[in-house]
């Protein structure tokens, strides 16, 4: 287990480095974006004097590198600055939203991950049958239209036509959990449909890939029933790629769902990021991107650790 701890620490260290690079990249990318916060905030009514004045007030007249270092100095001490637009501390500005995003991601993941694995196992068992084809066609179709469109279709059938679920997922703090789950069901379902196909197909592929192994034949020759061959003998050896794809999709659920948030008016962090980019509110953009990057790094790490934990060869080295 010492090895595992070492691996985790090493990866976390590299992760910090990655975060640093991401922050540099984001800072200068935002810097390179045409227009700046003053022009963005003032919009159509910007005049050169007001823009210049606003820049001065926000300290944008200082050199970019200097501003970055200032920000970095604060960030290292845990102070991610204040929103340039509203003057609110970054943590306050996006804290709640991040929680919302995590909630939606968790909601979708709790449904999608078991379903895709079960479905993946089932289609691997019934491979090349009608069921397999139909399941594949359905899931593939669901990922081949843009997610906002999928959202529209769900809204049409589940909200407008049958009125089963609310069409917009606006939240308030005094909701009970069941109400919350009901309100956010449609966005969660959309996300489920978006991520299921990928995970299901990877599960299927990973399992099928093992079916020609001698130990699978051995299991069959021991009289193990077909479903047990898949579940007990193939699946445990197929975890590594499956976990990786799950991690990738979880990362997507957290970082990539802007459009779903827009469609369902869900106050998540993706929307905040897009807005902040539009306003060139650098501290917010930076904080969002760092959160996303950290999520990604942690999930990847979790996937690698998971792959190790599910592989006895790595878990119990000789």
């Amino acid at each position: 287990m010492g090895d595992l701890t070492r691996l985790v620490l090493k990866r976390l260290g590299l992760g910090l480095l990655t975060l640093l690079v991401v922050s540099i990249l984001i800072f200068f990318a935002v810097e390179l974006l045409p227009g700046d916060i003053a022009e963005a905030v003032l919009g159509q009514s910007a005049t050169p004097e007001t823009v210049a004045e606003m820049r001065r007030q926000l300290g944008l007249d200082q050199p970019a590198v200097w501003r970055y270092l200032q920000w970095l100095g604060g960030a290292v001490q845990g102070d991610f600055g204040v929103s340039l637009v509203s003057g609110e501390p970054v943590s306050e500005a996006i804290g709640d939203r991040f929680v919302n995003t995590l909630f939606l991601a968790a909601y979708a993941a709790v449904i999608a991950v078991p379903i895709s694995i079960i479905l993946g196992v089932t289609v691997a068992l019934l491979r090349n049958t009608l069921f397999d084809r139909v399941a594949n066609v359905l899931t593939l179709t669901s990922i081949s239209s843009p997610e906002f469109f999928l959202g529209y279709i769900l809204i049409l059938f589940l909200a407008v036509k049958t009125n089963m679920f609310p069409a917009i997922a606006s939240l308030s703090s005094d909701m009970s959990l069941s109400e919350l789950l009901n309100r956010t069901f449609l966005p969660a379902l959309t996300l489920v449909l978006v991520v299921t196909a990928h995970m299901m197909r990877m599960t299927r592929a990973a399992i099928i890939n093992l079916l020609a192994s001698p130990y699978i034949e051995m299991a069959r020759l021991k009289g193990t029933p077909p479903w047990k061959v898949i579940v007990k003998h193939a699946l445990p050896n197929a975890w590594a790629p499956i976990i990786n794809v799950i991690a990738l999709n979880l990362a997507y659920l957290i970082t990539g769902v802007v459009l779903v948030e827009v469609v369902f008016v869900y106050p998540g962090i993706g929307q905040a990021l897009v807005d902040a980019v539009a306003k060139r509110d650098f501290p917010i953009v930076q904080a969002c991107c760092l959160i996303f990057a950290a999520t990604f790094i942690l999930l990847n790490l979790a996937a690698d650790v998971g792959a190790i934990l599910t592989n006895p060869r790595l878990r119990h080295p000789k």
Partner: protein, 491 residues
């Protein structure tokens, strides 16, 4: 409008879905830019004056106002009953501080340009404010309806406290999150009439589909914008009333008059003639628009000249003009973006198809939504712009057609036009003034650098149980942004 005006009654929570909001919004009136903030401002703050449902100018915080003879000095008398949500009375100091917020070197207000000719603002007792101008401006009281000039409580040092969200409007903010939603409840000490609802929820619904479904499913009572594409389909729903209000908002296509080939007036006119406005109104605005005539003065504004001949689609004449200008086979590009106006890109594409008949090749360039107004507008030789409704032709012309205006988007220079603009501004005689505006319209139409296909209507909707006055204001969507204080529930 479909709904009959029954007697208004009190009660209910009005859930109002608005079409434009941003997480980065603030309560600073100087940086109001999204619809959510503008509408919120009209709900929780007050202005000196307001535009009534019938389009006339009415009192808000100011009971009455009068001008000096040359219209260079104005006096506003404040309503003595007006109070902020905190309970404090509204005084002249608050008004002065609020207006000064948009003036001076330190300001970062987007409305700075509107007040450049204000010399000084003084008080005369607690409830009288005097505004002194460099020259005459007959429209100053109209100008005071501009959404930036919301009155906020003054601090002791002459700045305003905008952060707290305090105001003197009909509703006070209970809670809220920018770009998401605000909950408000009635301000009992409001000085005006109306405010029938007990509570108002303002919900930002950026996605057109989200707005429509929320309205259809009853998740909101009214929305501020309907996608024109689906207007006809939505109309079939008996539970929904659609309001289609002609406005002074316009789509313009300014050509930089100092940049070839647009420096040639014949080329400009050829382009104006190559547009089939009827088809554009039918296919892009789905009928919800008023045909424009290449001058930026709408029938919804005062002094509109109704006898100017409409310019029609005439490829042949366009061709001959081009021939005259030696610019046959003209090829130009026009920049546009989806965010300018729903269908803006389509409109440019359609225009390009129409212009082919005149032998003109228009290349449509879609620009990123992000940063359109800082990178494209005023910079690219020809682009597509959406203008909000301005109360009077003077405000509009001063902003964007005066030769030295910061936003003279077509860089059009016309001596006579500038002269007339100054004269009309200070002219208190309506007939003379109308006469001048007619001449300016002709100049803009025949010499100006802006193609104006139409004035877009405001198309918004409410559920059938929402009662509305007979006449709805044309200054903003949702009854001049004041639906919350003017509408009521019928059942």
């Amino acid at each position: 409008t479909k709904s009959a005006a029954a007697a208004p009654q009190r009660g209910g929570t009005f859930r109002w879905g608005l079409h434009d909001g941003n997480t980065g919004d603030t309560h600073d009136p100087g940086t109001y830019v999204t619809r959510t903030m503008i509408f919120l401002a009209h709900t929780h703050r007050s202005y000196l004056t307001m535009i009534n449902g019938d389009g006339s100018l009415g009192p808000d915080l100011a009971d009455s106002w009068e001008a000096s003879a040359d219209a260079s000095e104005w006096t506003f008398n404040l309503n003595q009953n007006a109070s902020f949500h905190s309970g404090r009375k509204v005084t002249a100091d608050d008004v002065i501080a609020s207006l000064n917020h948009h003036r001076g070197d330190e300001t970062t207000s987007a409305a700075k340009a509107l007040l450049t000719d204000v010399v000084e603002i003084t008080k005369d007792g607690d409830h009288t404010v005097k505004v002194k101008l460099t020259g005459g401006n007959a429209d100053l009281p109209w100008l005071m309806t501009d959404y930036h000039f919301a009155i906020c409580p003054a601090n002791d040092d002459g700045t305003i406290d905008w952060k707290s969200g305090d105001g003197s409007g009909p509703y006070k903010i209970d809670s809220g999150e920018f770009g998401v939603q605000f909950s408000l409840s009635r301000h009992d000490g409001w000085h005006g009439e109306g405010a029938w609802f007990d509570k108002v929820d303002i919900i930002t619904l950026n996605d057109p589909n989200a707005r429509q479904t929320a309205l259809v499913t009853g998740d909101v009572d009214s929305v501020s914008l309907i996608e024109l594409k689906t207007m006809a389909l939505l109309q079939r729903d008996p539970n929904i009333n659609i309001f289609n209000i002609p406005s002074a908002g316009a789509i313009t296509l300014p050509m930089l008059c100092d940049t070839p080939p647009f420096d040639n007036v014949d080329v400009r006119n050829a382009l104006k003639l190559s547009m089939n406005r009827d088809e554009i109104i039918e296919k892009i605005a789905f009928g919800a628009a008023t045909k424009a005539n290449d001058f930026h003065h709408s029938p919804a504004q005062p002094y509109w000249p109704d006898d100017i001949p409409q310019r029609e689609y005439d490829p042949d004449q366009a061709k001959s003009l081009l021939k005259k200008a030696g610019a046959e086979g003209l090829s130009v590009s026009i920049s546009t973006a989806d965010s300018v106006y729903a269908g803006a890109v389509d409109m440019a594409v359609l225009y390009a198809e129409q212009a082919k008949a005149s032998g003109i090749n228009i290349d449509v360039v879609r620009e990123p939504n992000d940063g359109y107004y800082s990178d494209v507008w005023l910079k690219k030789p020809w682009c597509l712009v959406s203008w909000g409704a301005r109360p009077t032709p003077d405000v509009m012309y001063t902003l964007a057609y005066k030769s030295d205006a910061a936003w003279n988007e077509s860089r059009w220079q016309n001596e006579r036009f500038n002269e007339l603009l100054l004269q009309a501004k200070a002219e208190l005689d309506d007939t003379l003034r109308a006469e001048m505006y007619r001449e300016m319209a002709m100049l803009a139409r025949d010499d100006g650098g802006t193609v104006i296909p139409f004035f877009n209507n405001f198309v918004y909707a409410a559920r059938a149980n929402v009662g509305t006055p007979d006449q709805l204001a044309a200054s903003w969507e949702s009854d001049g942004a004041r639906a919350a204080s003017r509408w009521w529930f019928t059942s």
